[in-house]
Subunit: 494 residues, 2 copies
Amino acid sequence: MDVYISGVGMTKFGKSKDSLETMMAQAASLALKNAHLERVDAIYLGVMNVEEFVGDSNFAALLADTLGLTGIPSTRVETASSTGAGAFEAAFYAVASGHMKNVLALAGEKMTHLPTAKTTRILSEVIDRSERRYGATMPALAAIIAQKYAREYHLPFPKLEDILAKVAIKNHSNGSLNPYAQFRKIITKEDYLKSQMVSYPLHLYDCAPITDGASAIVLTSQHTPVKVSGIGHATDTSAVRHRASLTSFNSTKEAALKAYGMAQVNPSDIQFAEVHDAFTLFEVIGTEDLGFFLPGEGWKAVEEGKTQLRGRLPINPSGGLKSRGHPVGASGLAQLVEIVFQLRGEAGGGRQLEGAEIGLAQSIGGLGNNNLVTILERSDRRRVVKEGWSLDYHPEINVSKKVSSSPPTEGVGVLEAFTMLYATQEGFRSPLTLGFVRTRSGEMVMACNPDYRSPKQLKMGKNVYLNAREGLYVFEKFTLWNRLKRRIKGPSQS
Amino acid sequence: MDVYISGVGMTKFGKSKDSLETMMAQAASLALKNAHLERVDAIYLGVMNVEEFVGDSNFAALLADTLGLTGIPSTRVETASSTGAGAFEAAFYAVASGHMKNVLALAGEKMTHLPTAKTTRILSEVIDRSERRYGATMPALAAIIAQKYAREYHLPFPKLEDILAKVAIKNHSNGSLNPYAQFRKIITKEDYLKSQMVSYPLHLYDCAPITDGASAIVLTSQHTPVKVSGIGHATDTSAVRHRASLTSFNSTKEAALKAYGMAQVNPSDIQFAEVHDAFTLFEVIGTEDLGFFLPGEGWKAVEEGKTQLRGRLPINPSGGLKSRGHPVGASGLAQLVEIVFQLRGEAGGGRQLEGAEIGLAQSIGGLGNNNLVTILERSDRRRVVKEGWSLDYHPEINVSKKVSSSPPTEGVGVLEAFTMLYATQEGFRSPLTLGFVRTRSGEMVMACNPDYRSPKQLKMGKNVYLNAREGLYVFEKFTLWNRLKRRIKGPSQS
């Protein structure tokens, strides 16, 4: 059964004094009103970590109650930071099954009331345990990926900074036109460069902010002007270091394959997209993974202005997570609200795209291991009828494999990528250097070093020496002097 | 599209040394093997509070990884203590939509590693905030409901004890025949009476234990011997005191209405059921809410042995939550595993029911506000074809209404029901008397008193005096002496 959208609503994102249930009820009421409905057949509610952020559980039932809709089935759905898209997906299948006519997907998060170090710790719980032990945060892992991307595609640091700044500037510019956005200010490259280094090479302006907000969509089996034409969802290994590639996300590519297949459209058919830019580089990688640009050419598209609001393929017309804000549970659904605004011609305020008929949203769960891709289109979109339609999207997917890590031992390895993390979470010294090191046996391990003071002290692709301390790997430069010291002292104990 | 079951699996419930993901992977592997599958199209994963019990989030992706099934979409589903049934429901709609062929519903919880007072606090987060502030725990609210039931149906305390003991004894007896059960020992009435009072009138043996465990079911669009014939799901107000009735659960009745309607069967068609006996009385109420017995007659059915393993309508042949154990996220799915065992004739060990063709599971989320009812039947079950089938289940559903509570003021009210809670959560004095008081304006409020020492000091239906202290109601007996004291001292400040 085909599934359509009859109503959307969201709160202004930002720092809010309202409780989470109040924000979510506001978004829901707007969506219901927009759909001309007072009741629905079910609620699918997305909150990522309501237990630790606000100290409640059983939130799906609480929301039905807050909305005065007790009786109605209400189910909480969670896929980490893609939760809003996950709630939409569950609602989609409920309507597609033919058992339900109108279903509310409702998503939100309340985050700004906690100290940042605590929020960082809560957010870090999505990270693979073995990497979390080293103090890895989301920005740290994103920074390691950015380093790897820069190296793989030969972007020296100032060039990388320039590209990432362009993404941030574009999204802030788009967000300045969005009344729902947390940040409505235009930023300059100077602002970007002045913003503090969160985890080298990522500045504060490379990272989506901490945000409160809620979004809602009513899905229906009745024909409306906006149709859900494709949904795909895929996972990847929890450990980032176990991924087949560090510069693309299999989970996006597999999700996109399914979504394009279901919608029977190709990447070239997509007119605009909301791409999960929790970190600026992720937008660049996203546009490659989605087949909009070739691998390693996403940054060129940014440079050439292709992804700007009036470019060939506008990316994040809403301002993205970067500027609209990132209430972790809500973002995946807020992306889809933006697509509906655009398809209905209701975006207004200078950010409306002309002739928008088909848009795509990509949402990342965790550090790229629970991603969703959703395609919406106008029901009256003219499809060019081609005999024997075929998908021309053939991404390279090298399946990642979880590796049972052996306990740390000493030895030489190659530093594949590293970051220097400044904004550490509760309980870790700042700065903290974290790296992925490939050992001589071919295993990729995580390693740390709290003694480095500047990223210039290290270089990717060089040998490092791995020491084992308290069950963790600590790495240092592989120099004759370091080796000699060790010979004199003897190997340290693991 | 019709939905069938092709595989089931579960771990032995109890105290386990295994990690949550290890237990869940075990259950999943058994179910996949049972279904002769290596992969599925999606995973719906039920965990109630993995964030606080084990300190991880993004668990859906972690499990796909643990199972070596990265790539496959994996979505976490949560509906409080009915989570396992909620995951099954989401999986059902995914298959019913026609978009997926084989889907794994997988549920678990790890609880025994934490101190009981902490576990009690975590479990209490499902309770309405305004009631939680008084120190209300799940057993306390269940005890208040038990008191109300006893009063409404004229069961003096020893009679109530006798009925509840019979439920506990029956379920332990059934559980003794279940190799997956946490408790496999038969208990006597003496054991029951000797077990400590958790919250008057509920003994320890009225309450399901704290348990580790996991369960899994593979749903499929292919015809198999077991069919999913009906699912219903409904919510109710978060605050128990706002319910239209305290002696039945609207959420069960509304869920049952939908499930019977979808399955086109009547309560009298059901041959056996797994009923959520987190507290013994909830099993009794459940059998009434499901239309097996008239309101107020469930206890008689217990007395007459109708719900025993060889009775007319066996309830909880598995041993129920009481004896199989209650890993909160897993129980709702474990109930369905038992129904499949019975329908396939695989229960064995003395607890197999003869000629089992159709069974029902009822799962309670929170304190009865997010409940599911699921009906499974053998695909070869002979349906008596009746012209113009009609549902003969017409439960009384008086919709509960959330009431915006006014701030506590002083005054006289009627004590509708109360409990004396001995096993208090972190930060509350023991014993703690908690009651529901109807004020003269008709509002039902919660009130506490930490000074009472015996439940005999109070009587339901009598007047009490409400004092306001620190934003809470404290109640005491309404005596001339108490009134006089207050006149002399003047009213206390709220």
